[in-house]
């Protein structure tokens, strides 16, 4: 088959001073992606992110499976945040199939999604620590994360990929005595992450490496359409749990963490503050949750949508707003599923943040974007 190169694929001629450097996809500092940087001495003059090394065609697969069998594979983009990445799909499927969710299931979902948010952020924090050369910050979050993973295992039966949310509620009710164990573990967890301030966030070396690097102004954060911790670190007060509350978030008191600096330090601190907020939300939800009741509305076999219909649902995941656009044509399978993922949306900020930075600052800027390559590629 004859193939002509699209415009833009032609080779670029660059200055003799300027060297092109491929960071990744095998380099551990870039995750599963390649960042093509052009450097002049120590300074980055241009950056071209090249994702796609872990593209698995989740959206295409979703067109061949029915609304229930889509669940296990749609959580694969971010297995550490698997409840949150599935959440908008489940909300959208409920609207298309016309299912009501029991009250208790909504609280269970909120607890599970907040626990998952903490699990994801701890994993991200471990990576962020190790790429800044701070080995303690790799060990501590990786270890403390186990507390919450054990909780999720008690709740869902699986440590990482839970497949717990289904249209109509959650798969299983909470095990007996879960509330007490959860409260105890979350309280200990919160006490524990507060200790990270002394070793990491107040560490002068960390501050010197991240302060004023990769500054994203408020206007640019809005213009690039960034989301989540990147947006809130640039001074935009936007959290979907407050702005467009889904399930029972409107009954809970959620505080949005905002910082004005917009540098790597602010972007790395916001997720840590979010974890403490998650602990607050979990405690509130445990208190307000109905003590008994159904957690799942039974579905008919092979549920179908009604006629041509489309729905766009979004939730606040560990990285930011995660949207799911589902088009249904009245069959058992969705006609089209599109995941609009926060990593992909934040990626556009990377070339603009790295331009003019030193090459040595690349890890601190790149990982502060809260970027998960597998999610961006889907």
């Amino acid at each position: 088959m004859t193939f002509t190169l699209p415009p833009g694929l032609a080779l670029q001629k660059v200055d003799e001073r300027i060297m092109t450097l491929n960071v990744g996809p095998q380099h551990p500092g870039s995750g599963h992606m390649r960042i093509i940087v052009q450097i002049d001495g120590d300074y980055i003059v241009a950056c071209d992110p090249d994702p796609g090394y872990v593209h698995r065609g989740e959206e295409k697969m979703a067109e061949y499976r029915n609304y229930i069998t889509n669940i296990p594979h749609l959580e694969r983009p971010v297995i550490h945040d698997s409840c949150n990445v599935l959440y908008p799909y489940v909300l959208g499927a409920e609207e298309i199939l016309g299912i009501e969710v029991p009250e208790r299931a909504k609280y269970v979902r909120v607890i599970a999604s907040e626990l998952n948010r903490c699990i994801y952020i701890m994993y991200w924090l471990a990576i962020y620590g190790i790429f800044l050369g701070h080995s303690t910050m790799f060990m501590w979050p990786a270890g403390d994360r186990e507390l919450l993973i054990d909780l999720m295992e008690k709740m869902t039966g699986a440590r990482v990929t839970h497949a717990h949310f289904v249209p109509g509620g959650v798969r299983n009710d909470l095990p007996p005595n879960f509330e007490d164990v959860c409260l105890r573990q979350v309280n200990y967890f919160e006490k524990r992450i507060k200790e990270y301030a002394a070793v990491f966030y107040d560490n002068p070396i960390l501050i010197s490496r991240t302060r004023d690097t990769g500054v994203l102004s408020r206007q640019d954060a809005i213009k690039y359409g960034t989301t989540g911790s990147v947006l809130r670190a640039s001074g935009v007060d936007y959290d979907l749990r407050v702005k467009e509350p889904y399930d029972v978030y409107d009954e809970l008191d959620v505080h949005t963490n905002v910082m004005k600096e917009g540098d790597s330090y602010a972007r790395s601190r916001i997720p840590w503050l979010d974890m403490m907020e998650s602990c607050n939300i979990i405690r509130q939800a445990l208190q307000k949750m109905p003590k008994s009741g159904s957690v799942r509305t039974k579905l008919k076999p092979n549920p179908k949508g009604k006629g041509l219909n489309s729905v766009y649902k979004r939730v606040e995941s560990g990285r930011g707003s995660l949207g799911c656009y589902i088009v249904s044509d009245g069959k058992t399978e969705p006609y089209r599923v599109k995941l609009s993922v926060p990593s992909f949306r934040n990626l556009i900020a990377l070339p603009n943040l790295l331009r003019g930075e030193k090459l040595g600052n690349m890890p601190s800027v790149y990982w502060s974007l809260n970027y998960w390559p597998v999610e961006a590629d889907r």
Binding site: P51, G52, H55, K60, R345
Partner: protein, 196 residues
């Protein structure tokens, strides 16, 4: 909306032609439309008249269907007058039975707090060409990159997954697929998964 259907794709599988999500017609209006959302759609209809078509007005969601020749003007109006400032998602949807590819922009606003819950769905359709390689006969749409900067990577993704060439986009390269991908754009309906 284009209604030409005399060139059905030669290699379209018969089973993908059976679903009939036809071009959106103005559906029966519910008795009570949400007032704020209705005011947004009214402003657009007032400005553009019958060039635009209101797909639906639901709670927090307004859908506007517009032809490809007017999508740029409508987007500029939405940005300048209605304060939508970024794009949340750009999705392509393939309708081989209509011989069209729909591109759906989900627009949101950070700077206007009254719009924080709102998503404006701007949908446009392009004539679906069977030759997916961008050339003279490619499926083409005007880019919105100069209106909303944030569509840059999203439009690159739609370009490679659906073969929709965005005219005026500064960087029309592949993003997720390999550079030497020489098959159909994979999210088109006639790209079949083996064994399914």
């Amino acid at each position: 909306m284009s209604t030409e259907t005399e060139n059905p794709p030669a290699d379209a599988k018969p089973e993908v032609a059976t679903p009939k999500p036809a071009a959106k017609k103005p559906e029966e209006t519910p008795i009570e439309l949400p007032a704020f959302e209705k005011s947004i759609s009214d402003k657009i209809v007032e400005k553009f008249g019958d060039k635009v078509e209101v797909g639906f007005v639901k709670e927090d969601r307004v859908r506007i269907n517009v032809g490809r020749e007017n999508v740029h003007d409508v987007a500029e109006f939405i940005r300048d007058e209605l304060n939508y400032d970024h794009v949340e998602s750009v999705s392509g949807v393939d309708y081989p039975q209509d011989n069209e590819i729909e591109v759906v922009y989900h627009l949101g606003s950070y700077s206007d707090s009254s719009l924080a819950r709102q998503i404006l769905v701007l949908a446009t359709r392009a004539q679906r060409e069977t030759n997916p390689i961008p050339g003279n006969d490619a499926t083409k749409l005007p880019t919105l990159r100069d209106v909303f900067y944030s569509v840059e990577f999203h439009e690159r993704e739609v370009f490679e997954m659906f073969g929709v060439f965005f005219e005026g986009h500064p960087d029309n390269r592949r993003l997720l697929l390999p550079e030497d991908w020489a098959d159909l754009p994979p999210l088109r309906k006639d790209f079949a998964i083996k064994g399914r």
